[in-house]
């Protein structure tokens, strides 16, 4: 068969809309699609089940097994819910992620305003640089960042780590925020400007109230990304009492000799819960699905 463009295919068909394609063959295809989709879904589910089952099983090993009898219970959660194991790392993670997400969102909003509202000849190169930096692998710059932090005496400080994490989130946040801001019509502000309001006043009183939904999307998105981030705090923070949940999870190895799989699973569940909750909130906000199509096209 020769290659046909979609247009060619369209051109060769009659315009009448009959439904002869909905015969028994199509019925088989639908059943098949459902079965195959379910099987793939199961393959995704099985590894995940281990965490959930093991978390409630005080005798948990690496095998997937339903906790039964005396081994079923909240023993694992009771064991890990202590200040050293769970509360402090979670708190550290919260400080780190809320701090850097907040900085990122404020700085990104400030930057997005002139980028969205005014024309200068520096705007385009700046936006291109921002877009370019969203693609840079942060993993690769961790070695020089470590060097920089050693020289600036910022190693093992929450402040330095927060500032760096905020910066890594900035390019994408600026990009998203500017796109959301472009959606707010400029006419309202123009009226305010002629009345003598300056741009920061219009940003605060006119633009921001209209783009809270967009901003909260950027905020949650940034937070989820940071909560799961392992490499950055792993490299920049050293003291055990400053480590966030993503890194302190490693203390389950070695500390007690053999690994307590049930406790590791319980801890993983606790550590995962916040992002799952936030994701549910986020997808509700966006009407059930991410609009990736729009995001990708810029």
């Amino acid at each position: 068969m020769t290659t046909q463009t979609p247009a060619a295919v369209v051109a060769t068909v009659p315009t009448a809309t009959s439904h002869h394609g909905r015969g028994p063959r199509s019925w088989v295809a639908t059943v098949l699609a459902n079965v195959v989709t379910s099987v793939i879904g199961l393959m995704f589910l099985v590894p995940l089940l281990w965490v959930v089952f093991a978390a409630f099983n005080s005798q948990a090993g690496l095998k997937l097994e339903l906790p039964s009898g005396s081994s079923f219970g909240l023993d694992n959660f009771r064991a890990v819910m202590t200040p050293e194991t769970t509360y402090r790392p979670m708190w550290n993670g919260l400080v780190l992620c809320v701090g850097s997400a907040a900085i990122a969102i404020v700085v990104a909003t400030l930057a997005a305003y002139p980028l969205s509202r005014f024309e200068t000849r520096y705007k385009r190169p700046f936006l291109l640089t921002i877009l370019f930096s969203t693609g840079l692998p942060i993993t690769a710059i961790m070695v020089p960042v470590y060097g920089l932090f050693v020289q600036l005496n910022l190693i093992d400080t929450l402040g330095g780590t927060i500032a760096f994490m905020a910066t890594t989130a900035l390019p994408f946040s600026i990009f998203l925020t500017k796109n959301f801001m472009d959606g707010v019509p400029i006419t309202l502000e123009e009226a305010a400007w002629t009345d003598g309001a300056n741009s920061m006043q219009t940003l605060r009183h006119i633009v921001l109230p209209l783009m809270w939904p967009g901003l909260s999307v950027v905020l949650i998105f940034t937070f989820i990304g940071m909560w799961g981030n392992f490499f950055v705090p792993f490299v920049l923070l050293l003291s055990p009492d400053r480590l966030p949940a993503s890194v302190s999870i490693f203390t389950f190895f070695g500390q007690y000799g053999s690994v307590q799989w049930g406790q590791l699973a319980a801890y993983s569940v606790l550590y995962t819960l916040p992002v799952v909750v936030l994701y549910v909130v986020l997808s509700r906000r966006l009407g059930g699905a991410f609009n990736f199509g729009g995001a990708l096209k810029g």
Partner: protein
């Protein structure tokens, strides 16, 4: 600094295009300052330092820690003639190809296509599961797959019924981490393709169907050509993400056994932090950055053509 002058444009209608003095422009650019400062200090700074350090013998302990001096291309020469570096380049390529280009991309497309034909219950439940695997933190995903593939893990339990089973993390570590990365990353491709497929006009699909183009042929000649741009964009983005995967592999195998799953980020980490060879480590980082930069530029070109 002022923008295009448009004489005769009614005042107050098109404020953005009005000429204004330099002072106004500077005042308007002021809110950009915090962003520029942060980006310069924590992003541009480290990258420039990386370019500098890659040509020095800077080290934190051991040889070279006393005084730092320029060594020209020595780090790169050492890297390109080192077996360990070659090993990690090959492993990175295998990992990226298997888990991103083939795994996430094809499975994501397959899921998006299948979901279109599935019942709503199936579609929603499978969607939630796949996205669930994507949302959980990468370290947890690492443990999940460690447990799944370990010697006495679930996967071997299933295989034991067929008389198979081995310690996958020892025998085929790079395949093991690739599988885990497919599991973790497929949701992204699935969501991207879901969005793209929903934009194909129903008439075109129906027309193709009536023309007798069913199954593979419709996919090959109608659907895929219509989402070609999305496929390229998606490939670019997941390749970039996969190139810099660290936590997942570190949790599952720490790059081992030996160096059998040591991709470039893990090799870089080992050289720079475990062996304190910052100069050599930054040279590897620079190679990674360069690869990332190439993909980033290609991605921008694609966006511009839109």
């Amino acid at each position: 600094m002022a923008t295009v002058t448009r004489p005769g444009a009614p005042e107050g209608i098109d404020l953005r295009r009005r000429t204004h003095p330099v002072k106004v422009d500077i005042a308007r650019a002021l809110p950009l300052t915090p962003a520029i400062v942060l980006l310069l200090v924590f992003l541009a700074g480290p990258i420039l330092w990386c370019v500098y350090a890659a040509f020095t013998n800077i080290a934190l302990t051991g040889a070279g820690s006393g005084e730092t001096k320029f060594v020209g291309l020595d780090n790169f020469r050492a890297a390109f003639s080192s077996d360990a570096f070659a090993n990690s380049v090959v492993l990175t390529l295998v990992f990226t190809f298997l888990s991103a280009v083939v795994g996430q991309n094809l499975l994501g497309l397959a899921l998006a296509l299948l979901q279109k034909r599935s019942a709503k219950v199936v579609r929603t439940l499978v969607g939630i599961t796949v996205i669930g695997a994507w949302v959980i933190p990468e370290v947890v995903a690492g443990y999940v797959w460690y447990a799944f593939l370990a010697k006495d893990g679930t996967f071997n339990e299933i295989l034991a019924r067929f008389g198979l089973g081995q310690n996958w993390l020892y025998t085929l570590p790079i395949i093991a981490v690739s599988l885990a990365n497919v599991w973790r990353g497929t949701a992204f491709s699935m969501l991207v393709y879901n969005a793209a497929l929903s934009e194909i006009p129903a008439e075109i699909e129906e027309a193709a169907e009536m023309d007798g183009a069913t199954g593979w042929r419709r996919l090959r000649y109608v659907t895929v050509p219509m989402i070609k741009r999305t496929v390229t964009t998606n490939l670019m983005l997941i390749t970039l993400q996969t190139l810099s995967v660290f936590g997942l592999i570190y949790t599952m195998t720490k790059g081992g056994p030996g160096t059998k799953s040591q991709t470039l980020p893990l090799y870089m980490y080992e050289q720079a932090f475990s062996f304190s060879q910052i100069g050599y480590g930054t040279a590897i980082a620079l190679v990674l950055l360069a690869v990332g930069a190439v993909f980033s530029i290609l991605y921008m070109r694609l966006l511009r053509e839109d």
